[in-house]
Symmetry: C2
Subunit: 339 residues, 2 copies
């Protein structure tokens, strides 16, 4: 049995003892693994020809839900409500069935935020970059996160104060020591971004603004009127939860995205922050200050964990990279009530 924390160390999460938090973390890991195995079993049955895909469209032809999403969410919700009847639950599929787009996370109540299947398009094609994402949020902040991609055998997990891991490996993967960010960032950085579901052909619409931003990040430094970012690589995997987990790992240096929701990011934010990464808004801030991202803000910019250099701390370097990205990206338009 774990020893009690010493009286001098306050609990890592207000209102929850260290033993309670450990139990929640262990439960979240087991639950996410079991949920992911259910997804993998569904995939295996389709490979064996004993099951077919049952999917339908939501907002448009690229916004879909499968029976797997719904079945796994029902399983996860039932497990959580049995074990923690006093905790709140927010899941993508039950939320999406409602008409509201309000932000429903109560800053007081401990809340489980669940995406039973992130990367649904990948799942329908048996493309391996799909996952279960389960976050546990207290006071509006993700403190436990588990992201499991069963087809990649990658289980990312973290708990505030207890470190972040990919399977057994500590995150970031390079941590002896954690490398500083490049002095000429965003050059030298892998830039992760997603095309998303808003495909409308509108002048100055989100698709046009995203692509303009991607191109500026990719172009040689002298290009785009001197705004070119010459990033090391541009990557799109089709899963926000995995994008955040890869940023926590240091596999990606920068993730910039608009349009996803709290269930896409809650677990990933817990993993990223525990690994030492930061997350702020995708929208350039005129005064250059770097606010914490709002969990439901739908606009995110994440920077990987960073060690110090001779001239700056890791945090200073992360904020420098945030500002370098902001110089090169457009303002995206994803609004929701009350945020």
């Amino acid at each position: 049995m774990a020893s009690s924390p010493s009286p001098s160390s306050p609990p890592a999460v207000a209102g929850i003892s260290d033993n309670e938090l450990t139990a929640i973390y262990d439960f979240a890991v087991l639950l996410t693994r079991e949920a992911g195995q259910r997804l993998a079993e569904g995939a295996r049955q389709r490979m064996q020809g004993t099951a077919t895909l049952d999917s339908e469209e939501k907002d448009n032809a690229v916004d879909i839900v499968t029976k797997a999403d719904e079945d796994v969410e029902a399983f996860v919700k039932q497990q959580i409500s049995t074990r923690y009847p006093d905790h709140r639950f927010l899941g993508e599929e039950s939320y999406s069935k409602g008409q509201s787009r309000d932000y429903l996370v109560d800053s007081e109540a401990p809340t489980w935020i669940v995406d039973p299947l992130d990367g649904t398009v990948n799942y329908t094609h048996l493309c391996p970059m799909y996952c279960v994402s389960i976050g546990f949020v207290v006071g509006g902040r993700p403190v436990v996160g588990v992201v499991y991609a069963p087809m990649l055998n990658q289980l990312f997990h973290a708990c505030r104060g207890k470190g972040a891991y990919l399977n057994e490996d500590k995150l970031p993967l390079l941590h002896s020591p954690v490398p500083p960010l490049p002095a000429n960032a965003p050059s030298g950085c892998i830039f992760s971004c997603e095309w998303g579901k808003d495909r409308r052909d509108i002048p100055d619409g989100n698709l046009a603004r995203k692509v303009e931003s991607f191109v500026t990040m990719a172009t040689e430094r002298s290009g785009k009127g001197g705004r070119g970012g010459m990033v090391h690589g541009v990557r799109s995997m089709g899963s926000a939860a995995l994008d955040l987990a890869y940023t926590a790992a240091g596999s990606f240096d920068i993730w910039w995205e608009g349009g996803c929701w709290e269930w896409d990011v809650a677990a990933g934010i817990a993993i990223l922050e525990e690994a030492g990464g930061i997350i702020t808004t995708a929208t350039p801030q005129e005064d250059g200050t770097v606010p914490d991202a709002h969990l439901g803000g739908r606009l995110y910019l994440a920077i990987r964990p960073a060690g110090p250099s001779d001239t700056e701390t890791g945090r200073e370097a992360q904020e420098r990279v945030v500002r370098e990205v902001w110089k090169r990206v457009a303002v995206l338009d994803y609004t929701r009530p009350g945020i």
Copy 2:
């Protein structure tokens, strides 16, 4: 010991007996696995802080070579020359050190075409989408291919006449039955593409033409003057060899790319074709005919394996999708001597 093929069945590869081909295939699988484990060991040492990355630029800041590339290529070349001294060898790193950009694959001699590390940028960041790619080419056609991504535990392998596999799973992953391509493709398709290393800010340059093509593929059907493709998703992993392997698996439906070289694609083409996929040129053909891709042509369009529908064969559907892609993409400019 394997039984000899019956006298009535000609060998799958001209001039090479079935027993010889099986031995070459087995050797290729073991060699690729060993090479990948060497890459993974290098990554593990960096994670443990017992080794650092040793890399240098080639053509520009995003075109790099690491000591791992060179060490693994030397190992692979030595293994092949010992076992098959009469076969030719073409490796990315030894080729790149020369000044020539000529296409060196002799259509007569059996040739091993090796990329010791595809996805070098990913490897430097410990981003999992890197691999070893080993192809065996006879008469200018890839007949054995092995692609191994050790950090994903994904070993793709194929030999002409013997099927294609991801680890133990037959490709395409959905094969009972193989699904037809969508009637309204490219809608419903995952589109794989790469930003590449040519980042020059030139009006109508390769970067601009690529991005214009990506955007047309992604935009709603009514958009871009009715040319919008509304693909299901746009993915960029940063490894041509893995892109082809994922297309063979059916995880991607379409891969369109310009600028890579024969060592990036030789193994992947063997896997793709053995799984039932096709590969042609990225450049739209005015008469609509679908030629086989030239191994050294640097311009590729791959379509996943496809089953028949009520109205067309799988091959007819693949050629239909090729033509639908060609309607939406620009002509890229990647030339080389003699092709």
